[in-house]
Symmetry: C2
Subunit: 168 residues, 2 copies
DNA sequence: TATTGTTATACTCTATAACTATA
DNA sequence: TATAGTTATAGAGTATAACAATA
């Protein structure tokens, strides 16, 4: 095997341009990826999630918890299964979520009197207070999103909903 | 403490309606949650992701891998760090991702000759073929999304991009 | 000193399957 | 038989921090 051939070896011609101070390689092109709705959806959701989590981080409540609390507020005495359907999560994912919220004292769980298999969920007073605070935070968060969406917001949200409803 | 009082006890009036066959409780209302862009973003992304993964599941390439392959195709000889920036992931997340793609024989990694810290990434022929197949799948997937978005697609995507760019 | 990539590690979120207790 | 909830378990995806090699 021949040693690596040095192409264009020998004295180099003097550079015509500046000393070529280590040009940082151009950032990658996203190319065709940019045209895919799916890809953009991922980036946007990711960005939104990070910001929400970072800002509400002190309260240590992630978007998923927030959504659950909201559903509980608007649907007192809902069961775990129904909650799972509302937030699109399996019941086995709902259990630890609620255990966490209960441990924090935000949710009360009681056996349903009419169907003893079911658990009846309600916000505690503390839960309502925390949620109130989170709503302020979420509004602030969404205000920024609203700004970005501009006058097309309604249509934008409508499309998101259609995607959520019709894709699966 | 008095025993539970049975309100309306005694003989019940005959039902006027049908035997009230265990009415399934009404599905929960999403309430104010429906107004939040963030929440809808999450549901939409989730739905889109699931469908993409399910359909491309045979190929066992998730959206994240697909995005990485696309970036590699459009940016031959990119480094791992640059890839990470493109897909918005930390370098420590990029390493195992690429190890996986390499193990599958889809990507070739070589030490850069000009900066021996860096790794230079290229798609293999097999990688290009798999990607080609995935692109067809992604197009099909996105075709459905396009349909849902309708004529507002351009504006919809523009908003998603602005969210991804301006939220963080 | 700063950056590239790797590793060790840990955490979150999620689901499937098997189980129980009811219905 | 079917459903509500729990548990055991596993897997994907991610990040932080510390590190070695190199710039």
């Amino acid at each position: 095997m021949p040693a690596t051939v040095k192409v264009e070896s020998g004295k180099r011609p003097r550079r015509e341009t500046a000393p070529a101070r280590r040009v940082p390689p151009p950032e990658p092109k996203l190319g065709a990826l940019q045209g895919f709705i799916g890809f953009n959806l991922r980036l946007a959701q990711d960005a939104s999630f990070r910001v929400f989590a970072r800002k509400s981080g002190q309260r240590d409540i992630m978007p998923g918890r927030f959504a659950a609390l909201m559903v509980l507020r608007d649907n007192p005495n809902i069961t775990q299964s129904a909650l799972g359907r509302a937030i699109a999560r399996d019941k086995s994912s709902v259990t630890p979520l609620l255990q966490d919220l209960q441990r924090r004292g935000l949710v009360k769980r009681m056996r349903s009197t009419t169907d003893r298999r079911s658990v009846t969920l309600t916000l505690t007073a503390a839960g309502a207070r925390v949620l109130q605070d989170l709503i302020l935070h979420a509004r602030e968060h969404d205000r920024k999103l609203d700004e970005i969406a501009g006058p097309s917001k309604a249509e934008f949200v409508a499309i998101l909903r259609r995607i959520a409803d019709h894709m699966v």
